[in-house]
Amino acid sequence: MSGPPKADGAADAGTRHQRVRFYQVGSHVVGNRLLDPEQRTVQARTDRSNTLTCGHRACRGCGEALGARYVLDAAMRASGGELVAANATGCLEVFSTPFPESSWQLPWIHSVFGNAPAVASGVAAALRAKGRDDVRVIGQGGDGGTVDIGFGCLSGMFERNDDVLYVCYDNEAYMNTGVQRSGATPPAARTANTKPIADHPGNRFGQGKDLPRIAIAHGIPYVATATVAEPHDLERKVETAVGMRGARYIHVFVPCPLGWGSASHDTIKLARLVKETGLFPVYEAVDGEVVGVSKIRRQVPVEEYLKLQRRYAHLFGEHGRPDIVERLQAGADRNIREFGLLDGDEEVQW
């Protein structure tokens, strides 16, 4: 248990002091006292920026709020606090800026749903024109705003290699409008317009976009995937990305208890399980090539992950669909093969 924060004589520009209470909850994540201070996460530091500060209106257990806090605090630290954010319409924008309040402690703009990547590019261009490209730009949005309606602008940003780090918080549906299917909704998931009615297994198979791979195909300097279960990994990727110039993309898996019908205390567990099943490969790529994968520590069958979410409840029980669960398992197994996610596996082979 940490006491009141001490003044940090070497506080960086852009970090802020604040009173932060840590509660030891038996996790390996925050406040690991066995680690050197230098090795701890930004989140473990009492002088973190707290860029998305308290008072926002996210649901309990919101993975996106967690992900945004991790990403932005890491980005603020890596950029010395010289950071501007462009945010797409969506849950993050809505819960962080309830009139007349704002949770943001950095310059922040929301324009419309589909243009966050372009707005970010515009900000970056202006800063360069003014000789201020020491100030970095982050564009961010949910899966709907990134994979679907913002896709054209995102591709344009990639193609021009604009100096923007774009972060997608993927909770796999349009959540703020009531849980409708997006291009990132996984097969078999129930959403408000992919209900398991009659023979329909929820969302259809074969649909959906693998945006990290699409980003890699654009050949941009840096692409990474991450989850909110592993803040060290996520922060390191953000730090790496901020240390580079050009178009960079990070895709963060963020559970949504409301939309997925999961318990609000299972958010981090689900993020851990999605990786350990192989359903969500965690890796990074530089200049169009995968350079590292985060191996699965202990492989877990997809069922363990699916069963914690009501959006997959129709696959189990009396009218369950073991055939679909099998297909989902096959998808996970394919990822494991293609990315070499188990120890001893070959390197990436697409």
Binding site: R16, Q18, S49, N50, T53, T89, E93, F99, P100, E101, S102, S103, W104, Q105, H110, S111, V112, F113, G114, V147, D148, I149, F151, Y174, N176, T177, G178, Q180, R181, G183, A192, N193, T194, K195, I197, A198, H200
Partner: protein, 417 residues
């Protein structure tokens, strides 16, 4: 069948009975329950054959409708606000190509600032896109207008927007007699497109037209909308004969006989207006209302005929043409050209601000006493506006007004803590 049902659900079921073959869905508040309802019906096999496509944006939604309609399918989508604007280019394209697409617009304000509540900014912004615009007063009419819309659209080869107030109607539970499949089938013939993409008879759709012919093509679009002035009442009359109730048409008068003051409005606010008028009539005030049902084409003659005997006209609008004033009132004035009367424009309900019976009563009392300015705003917080204008005049930082107003309210986080 008469049911107590959510407006969106009534629309979904009614649209399904119109047998669209392609439905495009991109979610935006407050239209989501409509497209979700249609998804369920398609999945349950109740709407078939129908391709239900979850597209990646509203621009894609309208574009898919364009392709589908050009290939001979009855096509439908729904949107609101930002989504309507996002498909703006495609809207003009659809009407220019003469494609009889039907779309529900769940009326919602347009940002910035982002606002998900009801007003008419969205559909008004596209009033010149070449689409017909029909406005529903309640959910019964909203459902009925969709049935009529497909028939009108296909008769004229023009796309039709059915406008219903977002949240106020879409999310309201009230009684709706949802037409049966048999009733709709009897009323709505199968879609027989005038031109269609068909390998058996290839045609080119969407060629470039230069100065030598563009004006004529554009005029023909206008001429078709003028024809709609006849088709809309005909279809409404047929509808009444078939379904036993009045819905749609060009305009509808309420207690207009000998009314000295007439309030003109569109959409659901008419319900609250009518209640207010009844109370005022009981107090001996000579007042009535005119509901405009078809805003495009604008029914010049009918509006003129309804209003020309009045002493004063109050146009209550849920949209503001920034830099000018009223939108509906501008059209109403055209209809009244040459007629002398007091004309008042009142902007109300922007961004979902409720329009209460009490406010309307005060407003109409002021109108009757000719105490209104030509352009006024209902229930505006003038103190807040004066404060902001003063701040601007004192050379304050430029920037979005909303943020400055927030700063004054005192809670913008300019820094940490």
């Amino acid at each position: 069948m008469l049911r107590q049902i959510e407006g969106s659900a009534a629309i979904a079921e009614t649209v399904a009975r119109c047998r669209p073959e392609v439905v495009c869905a991109y979610p935006i508040s407050p239209q989501t329950h409509i497209v979700e309802g249609l998804s369920d019906l398609v999945r349950a096999g109740e709407l078939a054959p129908c391709e239900y496509m979850m597209v990646e944006s509203e621009f894609a939604a309208m574009s898919v409708c364009i392709g589908a309609s050009a290939a001979g399918a009855r096509a439908y989508t729904a949107t609101a606000s930002q989504g309507l604007l996002f498909m703006a280019e495609a809207l003009f394209n659809a009407s220019g190509l003469g494609l009889p697409i039907v779309m529900t617009v769940a009326n919602r304000a347009v940002g910035s600032p982002i606002n998900i509540w009801n007003d008419h900014s969205d559909s008004m912004s596209q009033r010149d896109s070449g689409w017909l615009q029909l406005y529903a007063e309640d959910n019964q009419e909203a459902a009925d207008l969709h049935v009529q819309a497909f028939r009108i659209a296909e008769a004229l080869s023009l796309p039709v927007m059915v406008c219903m107030d977002g949240f106020i109607l879409t999310h309201a539970y009230e009684r709706v007699d949802v037409p049966s499949a048999e009733q709709v089938d009897a009323f709505l013939p199968a879609f027989e497109p005038r031109q269609v993409l068909d390998p058996a008879d290839p045609m080119t759709i969407g060629a470039m037209v230069g100065p030598e012919a563009f004006a004529e093509v554009k005029y023909l679009a206008h001429a078709k909308q003028m024809q709609a002035l006849d088709v809309i009442p005909e279809v409404a009359a047929d509808f009444e004969a078939a379904f036993g109730r009045r819905s749609g048409g060009l305009v509808r008068g309420y207690r207009l006989e000998d009314a000295e003051t007439i309030v003109v409005a569109l959409g659901s606010v008419l319900g609250t207006i009518e209640d207010t008028i009844d109370a005022m009539r009981e107090d001996g005030v000579s007042i009535g209302a005119l509901a405009i049902k078809s805003f495009r084409p604008f029914p010049m003659e009918e509006v003129r005929a309804a209003l020309e005997g009045a002493k004063r006209v109050v146009v209550l609008e849920k949209a503001l043409a920034v830099g000018v004033g009223g939108i509906v009132s501008a059209n109403v004035r055209m209809a009244l050209s040459g007629i002398q009367l007091h004309g008042y424009t009142v902007i109300a309900g922007l961004g979902g601000r409720p329009i209460t019976g009490a406010s309307l009563r005060r407003l109409f009392d002021d109108a009757v006493a000719d105490r209104l300015e030509p352009l006024s705003f209902l229930d505006m917080d003038w103190e807040r506006i004066e404060a902001e204008l003063k701040r601007m005049a004192a050379g304050g930082r430029s920037g979005p007004h909303a943020e400055n107003i927030l700063r004054e309210v005192g809670i913008v986080a300019g820094g940490s803590h």
